[in-house]
């Protein structure tokens, strides 16, 4: 196999432990172009796999004829669901998704057949020869259609599969607290505002395409080199389809080019393995960008109805919300997204009376699942829009209104869960408000690149107005609702070339977030060494859980800490038995065992000799419970995290173009294990929120995706993205390792409403939908 430098261990030496910003261990490989992403792998004698995708959103499959494809020279296998040796279904939470379509098509782009050939072009031509006869059916695409299956039909026919017990509803969750919301409660409010909001379907649009290499092994098993977010949950879903026991399916993480939730579901994994199993040869699959848009789940588009009541002096009295999420054809993570959307629907505010219902629907639109912010993004756009509206109705400053109602440590959320860690929401808002504002647009000496429309040369400064907006959000960290979301780490300490070296082995998916850097820092801090080797992530060690839900530093970082502490204790035990040390004041510093009272005792190298200490530990967070079905009550979330944004925008009101001039953020990260990465995460997350605010949306018509390319699905470029000052706070969470808080998602919540708020401030328009498009601004 070629191109595998990062599939072997990477060793780096650095003095910095936690709190420092040492450089990425994989950085040099990445800038040299030597880091092997999953699409870079290459094997002697390998074949190329490819899938045939349905051109309809809803159809019955009458027949599939693969004979022409099979007869194509250079083709080694063509498979349909008939060829699957094991279970035909898989899924993250509900096993409702066929690995290859059976009888029915439920979304545009569903895979029907797969082929393995000696060149990608051969595969493409072979697929063109597969004859599929469809009976095209009217797709179920709107909320009204989904909720009326008697008239419009079922996405999953009743009693066909496990998924359809409640018609086209995947999952729903209520949250009721205080007195709920009825006319008596409404009468307690002096001012009421309500609104209907809509969030479009956003795509993760990670740059590295879905790809991997499946290699048949001599024992009849499969070795899969893959870009994913969670190796073990992939294996759990792959092995039954291949008809293999889990221990015969071994996964190694290949380089991952971004993820953002889009790699939490399987994409090409099963297809590559099936083809490798059938042909006995290594099979590589690399999605094109178009196929990537079809091959992964997206962010749930949402329709939200919100009503808030407040007293004349601005105290929130009640909130009622109805949140409808379009889950698309298969369940994916929809149940958990509903859990988040409902339980986090109030935002970081104290509201005594709450009544919320969140629902995810099955439809014939593209499947939706995990994306950065996970159900909290949609709610945040709605509640922050509402708070601006309420501030206007009350004649109050919108930041002051938020501060007046902000949660703090000790507050109760409407789930009944008390926030038992710092929650500096009012302070975050104040800090972001106090940052200096950017200078006004210099119309005397305009640089067109700073204007709305920028290089397109559309505007020279006429009709440009500036606006400023604020928002703050509430996000949970980790998997919730009773899930025992553990992680495993193995740490080995040995002497190599006369120097102590720590090796860290986990199954954590490094997707770009920098977990590998932090693991080195933790090992250095706990073991007092400089050299750390990061073992490639694979299934030879226990599960690390998913690189999602902002949980990986908390969970796998926590596991590395536990394992390193265990190694340290073992080293001390060795020293005590050899040298008879008695004190309890030992530590490891600079490669030496040091006693607080007696100074340096011995070097780690001398103490260890040619021995190695190799220990594995699991980190479990404190237990949570599922929310009560009817009331949403329960200690459901592990940890909460908060981020506030201030956006400054220039809007060309004649052309309907928006230029975000500056996007400032302030976030409490508990403890910044690596400040450089933390700031990078906040800026990256904020930019995805910017994309949702002003440009990103998968457009479907009758269930068909209209823009599956980077030509038509726009993500922010460097010209669309403004300077992003970031201020971090570090108020330790007493329940978390080192006091840290998950960082990655919170910034994606509030950046969107902050930008829309700024556009409203500039234009005076209501703007209840994201992304905001030029026609919304010009009224055309």
């Amino acid at each position: 196999m070629r191109g595998e430098k990062n599939l072997q261990s990477i060793t780096t030496a650095h003095p910095d432990g936690i709190g420092g910003s040492p450089l990425r261990p994989d950085g040099t490989l990445k800038v040299r172009g030597e880091f092997a992403y999953s699409s870079d792998l290459w094997h002697e004698d390998m074949l190329w796999g490819m899938a045939l995708r349905a051109p309809h959103a809803r159809a019955r499959i009458i027949s599939v004829d693969i004979s022409g494809a099979l007869a194509t020279p250079g083709v080694h296998a063509v498979l349909t669901h008939d060829d699957i040796p094991g279970s035909k279904y898989y899924g993250l939470e509900i096993q409702d998704q066929p690995a290859l379509a059976i009888d029915r098509i439920r979304y545009h782009g569903e895979a029907v057949a797969i082929v393995a050939a000696d060149h990608p072009e051969t595969a493409r031509r072979a697929l063109a020869k597969v004859r599929v006869e469809y009976e095209v059916l009217p797709p179920i695409t709107t909320e009204e259609q989904c909720l009326d299956p008697e008239t419009y039909g079922y996405v999953h026919e009743p009693h066909e599969y496990k998924a359809h017990a409640s018609g086209n509803i995947v999952h729903q969750q209520k949250v009721v607290s205080g007195r709920g919301v009825d006319d008596e409660v409404r009468a307690l409010a002096d001012v009421v505002v309500s609104g209907d909001y809509e969030v479009g379907m956003q795509d993760q649009a990670f740059l590295g395409p879905e790809s991997g290499l499946a290699v048949p092994a001599e024992d009849g098993g499969i070795d899969l080199y893959i870009a994913t977010q969670w190796l073990h949950v992939d294996r759990e879903q792959i092995a039954p389809v291949l008809g293999l026991p889990e221990n015969k399916v071994r996964l190694t993480l290949a380089g991952v080019g971004g993820a953002f939730g889009g790699r939490e579901d399987l994409s090409m994994q099963i297809h590559a393995c099936l083809l490798a199993q059938r042909t006995g040869k290594p099979v590589k699959i690399v999605y094109s960008r178009e196929e990537s848009f079809f091959g992964h789940v997206h962010r749930h588009p949402a329709r939200l109805h919100y009503e808030h009541g407040a007293t004349r002096d601005g105290k929130l009295v009640y909130m009622q919300a109805r949140i409808v999420l379009d889950g698309g054809a298969y369940a994916s993570a929809s149940p958990a997204v509903v859990g988040n959307a409902s339980s986090l629907s109030v935002g970081p505010y104290e509201i005594p009376n709450v009544d919320v219902l969140a629902v995810a629907l099955y439809s014939n639109n593209p499947s939706c699942g995990a994306m950065r912010g996970f159900g909290a993004v949609q709610a945040c756009f709605a509640y922050e829009s509402q708070l601006d509206k309420l501030a206007a109705a009350l004649g109050m400053d919108p930041v002051e209104l938020r501060q007046l109602n902000a949660v703090s440590q000790g507050s109760f959320l409407p789930t009944g869960q008390q926030i038992d860690a710092p929650a500096p929401v009012a302070t975050l808002l104040q800090k972001v408000k106090d940052l200096p504002l950017p200078p006004p647009l210099d119309l005397a000496h305009p640089d067109i690149r700073e204007m709305p429309g920028a290089l397109s040369n559309t505007s020279h400064g006429e009709g440009i107005v500036r606006g400023v907006g604020y928002a703050v959000g509430l996000k949970n960290v980790g998997f919730s609702e009773g899930f025992d979301d553990y992680s495993t780490a193995r740490v080995r300490l040995e002497v190599i070339g006369g120097e102590p070296v720590a090796m860290v082995h986990t199954a954590m998916a490094e997707v770009g977030q920098g977990g590998v850097t932090v693991h080195g820092q933790i090992a250095r801090t706990e073991l007092g060494v400089e050299r750390v080797t990061i073992h490639p992530a694979d299934t030879a060690v226990g599960s690390a859980g998913s690189t999602s839900a902002s949980r990986q530093t908390y969970m796998t970082g926590g596991a590395v800490k536990l394992a390193a502490e265990a190694v340290r204790q073992e080293l001390f035990r060795l020293g005590r038995s050899r040298y008879g040390w008695t004190g309890n004041d030992l530590s490891l510093v600079g490669g030496k065992v040091v006693s607080a009272s007696a100074g340096v005792l011995v070097s780690i190298a001398d103490l260890l000799g040619d021995r190695a200490i190799d220990l594995t530990r699991e980190h479990h967070h404190r237990p949570t419970v599922p929310f009560d079905k009817e009331t949403g009550q329960g200690f459901g979330h592990v940890q909460y995290t908060f981020c506030a944004h201030r956006a400054v925008v220039d809007v060309d009101v004649e052309l309907g173009l928006v230029k975000v001039v500056e996007l400032a953020a302030c976030q409490d990260v508990g403890k910044a294990l690596n400040p450089l990465s933390v700031v990078g995460q906040i800026q990256g997350g904020s930019t995805q929120g910017l994309g949702l605010a002003v440009m990103e949306e998968i457009i479907t018509r009758e269930g068909k995706v209209r823009n599956p390319s980077f030509t038509d699905y726009l993500i922010p470029t460097i010209l669309d993205t403004p300077p992003q000052p970031v201020e971090i706070m570090e108020l330790a969470d007493p329940h978390a390792p080192y006091g840290l808080r998950g960082v990655g998602e919170a910034p994606t919540l509030s950046s969107t409403p902050a930008i829309v708020s700024a556009i409203r401030a500039a234009t005076g328009l209501a703007l209840n939908r994201v992304p905001v498009r030029p026609e919304h601004l010009t009224g055309t």
Partner: protein, 162 residues
């Protein structure tokens, strides 16, 4: 068909190239130079940027046959075998501009070209020059830092051979 050209100063030859293959495909799959990345293969993201006869191009948009007898320089050819990493490469690492790194090779070539043309670009110059390179992870702020850092280093050490 057979295509012969120089890649990073070395004569290379690819055999049995199908007429529809791109330079990107030939580099990655036939010559073992996977540094140039395949994020869209439609000329939209810039991840596949290489120098062709000294000018940056999207290698996914160049047909393999077009490079016959020409000179290609990829990200693999930026580092100097004697002096180690190019200042642009080092600056991207130092500034924290590399997260997943998939956009990095294309950005490095584009930045390298920018600084060769204009060693001390303004922020607007940087944004304009890099506007064809998508990055989904960083939010670009640290990429701006990296280019400024590389610019400062290049400008202050003119003797470094680039």
């Amino acid at each position: 068909m057979r295509v012969t050209f120089t890649a990073n100063g070395r004569e290379v030859e690819a055999d049995d190239v199908w007429e529809g293959e791109s330079l990107l495909y030939v580099l990655r799959e036939r010559l073992g130079l996977p540094g140039s990345k395949n994020a869209c293969e439609q000329g939209e993201c810039g991840s596949c940027t290489v120098y062709l006869d000294g000018a940056p191009v999207c290698s996914c948009l160049v047909a393999a046959g077009q490079v016959q007898d020409r000179a290609v320089r990829t990200v693999e050819g930026l580092a100097d075998p004697e002096h180690g990493l190019d200042p642009v490469q080092q600056a991207f690492i130092d500034a924290g501009a590399v997260q997943c790194g998939f956009c990095t090779p294309g950005l490095l070539v584009q930045t390298h070209d920018l600084l060769e043309r204009e060693p001390q670009p303004s922020d607007n110059d940087i944004r304009e020059a890099l506007s064809g390179n998508l990055c989904r992870c960083t939010g670009y702020e640290k990429i701006m830092d990296a280019v400024r850092l590389a610019s400062a280093r290049v400008s202050s050490t003119p003797e470094v051979s680039r």
